[in-house]
């Protein structure tokens, strides 16, 4: 059983990739950057009190689920979302959709997906992928962060759909049931950009936005004093960079993908202001990569790399990114 009309697409990030692939399949072609941008899913957050594996969470995008939920308004998108208590039922319903010729998005934990190389298998519950067929005991999986479609045994898929913990998937399954094909791009872009700008510049708490970047930079400077253990320092910094580069972000912690969104919107609407912002955002992504480079050198204990240096790179990225949002504030 395979849905022949389904086309796998390689994407930078799982959720925006799945959303774009599914919408395209169901008749609403939309690129991955558009899905990210129109849902205002770009952000920066550092949550010092929420720890995983002993290290605070750093995020470059909004909470899981924000991409397809954030598209409800701009695209008039209605998504059918279903969670389950019972794993058997969740697998039965999945089979039912496949039999009806409907590819569906599901949420799963990376750790239990056998097609991931062991080096990349960590307990991240909010991974997204499309299931588009079944061949005997194997499900045919379109995982957007892989360049080719994958296969996954039923038991493994079942286990990864029902892990517990933060963002527990609870068998989540989703597919679009309706959207407005004639939606107006101009107001949608405007609203989405404004929302992102507001969040990044005017978040009420300094754990989100530009202020969070500066706060984190400050924290990096204070780290040698607070936590003299060099191993802790290396892992702390490494953890920030993992969120930026290891988890599929399209590079530069989603900044390049967002620049691609600004470019696509700017070209479609013929608006020079968005194209300008896109070019600026591209340089911001490059600065984030400089930060990652310095951080990785520190993690590897290379001479010349320091926490203070990483902190400076982060401040440079923050300043450049703030300028982009200040420019877009008048949009």
């Amino acid at each position: 059983m395979i849905i022949a009309s389904f086309r796998h697409r390689h994407a930078g990030h799982c959720e925006s990739g799945v959303t774009s692939t599914l919408l395209t399949h169901f008749g609403m072609p939309i690129s991955e950057p558009m899905a990210l941008g129109l849902s205002s899913s770009l952000t920066f957050a550092h949550l010092p009190f929420v720890k995983v594996g002993g290290f605070p969470i750093t995020a470059y995008r909004m909470l899981p689920g924000n991409v397809y939920k954030g598209l409800r308004k701009p695209l008039g998108l209605r998504m059918h979302l279903q969670r389950f208590r019972d794993a058997d039922e969740a697998m039965r319903v999945l089979d039912g959709h496949l039999a009806a010729g409907r590819p569906v998005g599901i949420q799963a934990s990376v750790f239990w997906l056998p097609y991931f190389p062991p080096e990349m298998r960590f307990h991240f519950n909010a991974h997204n992928l499309v299931v588009y067929g079944r061949d005997g005991n194997d499900y045919l999986v379109s995982d957007p962060v892989f360049d080719l479609p994958q296969r996954c045994a039923a038991e493994a898929l079942r286990k990864s759909r029902f892990t517990q913990g933060a963002f527990a998937p609870r068998g989540l399954l989703y597919y679009p049931v309706g959207f407005d094909p004639g939606f107006a791009l101009q107001p949608a872009v405007r609203r989405a950009v404004r929302k992102t700008v507001n969040m990044m510049l005017r978040a009420p708490l300094p754990i989100v936005g530009i202020r969070a970047m500066r706060g984190l930079a400050k924290r990096l400077r204070a780290l040698p004093r607070q936590r003299p253990d060099p191993r802790y320092q290396r892992l702390f910094l490494g953890n920030i960079v993992r969120m930026q580069e290891e988890i599929g972000t399209g590079g530069g912690g989603f900044r390049f993908m967002y620049a691609a969104f600004l470019q696509e919107a700017g070209e479609t609407l013929a608006q020079e202001q968005l194209l300008d912002a896109s070019r600026q955002m591209t340089s911001v992504g490059d600065l984030w990569r400089q930060f990652a480079l310095e951080a990785a050198q520190f993690t590897r204990d290379k001479p010349g790399a320091s926490l203070a240096g990483a902190s400076d790179r982060l401040l440079e990225a923050a300043a450049a990114e703030e300028a982009v949002y200040r420019g877009l504030a008048a949009y």
Binding site: V145, D147, A260
Partner: protein, 136 residues
């Protein structure tokens, strides 16, 4: 980032797989470029995985000396922390920590043991045991 700047560091664990990275072509146009990985990503991922491995080895040595239960070893071996395991097994974190004591762990009921086994993706027998010592 320009397309020719997209890192191609041939990370061994990518094998034939590629990651999609957004970059601009000669005309400044965005598109995705398949990347065979960036050494930066390799460094930070290896550091994180290495930390779990280090904790697992440490727990293993202590478990062999009878200072902790096999549960602590399997926890790190599965790249989990106490809070995550507690949530998965639907127990409080203090309780999980208490089960690190070998005497307490040995008295665990089979139903509780299977809850842990399930959360860790192990059989209850494997959970009670430790990997055989390496070497000749």
């Amino acid at each position: 980032m320009k397309q020719e700047e997209v890192p191609q560091d041939h990370l061994p664990y990518y094998q034939s797989g590629r990651k999609a990275i957004y970059a601009v072509d000669g005309e400044g146009h965005f598109g995705t470029v398949p990347s065979s990985g960036w050494s930066v990503e390799d460094a930070v991922t290896a550091a994180a995985a290495g930390e779990y491995a280090r904790q697992a080895q440490d727990a293993l040595a202590r478990a062999r000396r009878g200072e902790t239960s096999p549960l602590e070893y399997h926890l790190s071996d599965r790249r989990l922390d106490v809070a995550q395991l507690a949530q998965s097994a639907r127990l409080s974190a203090c309780r999980v920590r208490r089960h690190f004591r070998p005497q307490v762990f040995a008295r665990l009921s089979s139903s509780r043991l299977s809850r842990y086994a399930d959360a860790l993706g192990l059989s209850p027998e494997a959970l009670r045991g430790l990997p055989p010592p390496e070497g000749p």
